[in-house]
Symmetry: C2
């Protein structure tokens, strides 16, 4: 019985250690943005649309801003500031002329995917928002991430640092 208990204890311990190691490994594998440590949220492409946008030259991009459930609820109810847990995703593509309908521009190659994550404690120094800009799944460099808060703070302080409005 002593031996059996030992074996069970050892098995349980090993299993637990492996689970912890695996979880740590999985977290470490997910690329995080400099400064903020924002990672790409699972399933963000399935989130609801807040609004599309178009960016003029030199970027020439088509964009769509999506939001997680907390974000969508806040938009619908006009809640400002956005509650903790809000995540906004901005998807951007080069806009290219539709080969089938000349007056239309449609998404070409993807350029960036950007996220704003609301956590009023963790990101208290930047208005409660953490930022992440990703290119091909990899975070952009620290210099690029230094520009996020400054620009949002300068231009949309009155809308909790968020540019995008809900398109009705």
């Amino acid at each position: 019985m002593k031996l059996l208990q030992l074996v069970i204890f050892a098995a349980a311990t090993t299993s637990c250690t492996l689970a912890v190691a695996f979880a740590t490994h999985a977290t470490a594998e997910k690329p995080a943005s400099p400064i903020y440590g924002v990672t790409i949220p699972d399933g963000y492409r399935q989130w609801q649309l807040i609004a599309p946008a178009q960016e003029a030259a030199p970027l020439n991009e088509l964009r769509a801003v999506l939001g997680n459930a907390i974000a969508i609820k806040a938009y619908r109810e006009g809640t400002l500031p956005f509650p903790d847990g809000t995540v906004l995703a901005k998807l951007a593509w080069k806009h290219v002329q539709s080969p089938e309908f000349k007056p239309a521009s449609v998404p070409g190659a993807a350029t960036t995917v950007q996220f704003m994550v609301k956590d009023s404690k963790k990101y208290a120094a930047t208005g409660g928002w953490g930022f992440g800009r990703f290119i091909d799944g990899k975070p952009a460099d620290e210099a690029q991430h230094r520009t996020c808060y400054a620009c949002h703070q300068a231009l949309v302080k009155n809308h909790d640092l968020v540019f995008t409005r809900y398109a009705k």
Copy 2:
């Protein structure tokens, strides 16, 4: 007892008649497109994004095409033709310069909301698709609806009459 039975029968009959009248009335109230009888699906604004688009002058519109669950599954799996039950929603807004960020155009006033509904039997004469174009919740006239199938048939016959591709 006879009288009571009669009262119960009369009450049940009246209630049933009212229920049928109400249901008929509710159906009649939902505006349907000419030719196709397409109505605005409940909850379409919560559907997932297929792709944004931009329309040049004279329309100057920003657009977003959303799809119901059947549509999204078909896009993900590359299913062509789209299965019966597919519904696509195209939301369009005038594009206006962002007052907060000059290089960006954002949605202004809503212009049209348009739907394509796949029902290979009901719409056999138009490639399996029914069309509906709505302005302020009201269907556009028959002349406008006459243009839908002809244009889709001429330009995107090879993609089951659907212009929009899934933006990745």
